[in-house]
Symmetry: C2
């Protein structure tokens, strides 16, 4: 069993309206030191395989095809176990 | 300037319907080795402060009050810089 942790973030050049909204909310709550907020996704996948190299290629494929929109998002992942 | 990275995940005992949907989609695309998917949030905050202890207390406060719903979600964060 291999655990894959995938991080999907919006590219630096792309506006993150959700982050802007959260920043505004934090400001209105008195957290004025918050200069910027960027929000992404964090995914934990349990893979029923023990071949690390195969898992790496497969998770990359999953990211490209479904988990990330590579036009506006970046992704990275870690494998464990 | 301190960078805080916040991870918000759904508690293990709570059903994650988004994760179940993504797992179903991955299966139907031929990624049958995916045993489970849990989806969380990943946030990067830039804080205009240099006091690490204060930043730690403030980010904890932000998580408790806005960033995480502690009834059904767990959070953890890292500070950098």
């Amino acid at each position: 069993m291999i655990k894959a942790t995938v991080y999907v973030t919006i590219k630096q050049s792309v506006l993150d309206p959700q982050g802007v909204a959260v920043q505004g909310a934090l400001h209105s709550m008195g957290f004025e030191e918050v200069q910027s907020v960027r929000i992404g996704k964090y995914m934990e996948l349990q893979l029923d395989t023990s071949d690390r190299n195969e898992a790496e290629a497969r998770v990359k494929d999953m990211c490209e095809k479904l988990l990330a929109n590579t036009v506006v998002e970046d992704y990275r992942f870690e494998l464990e176990g």
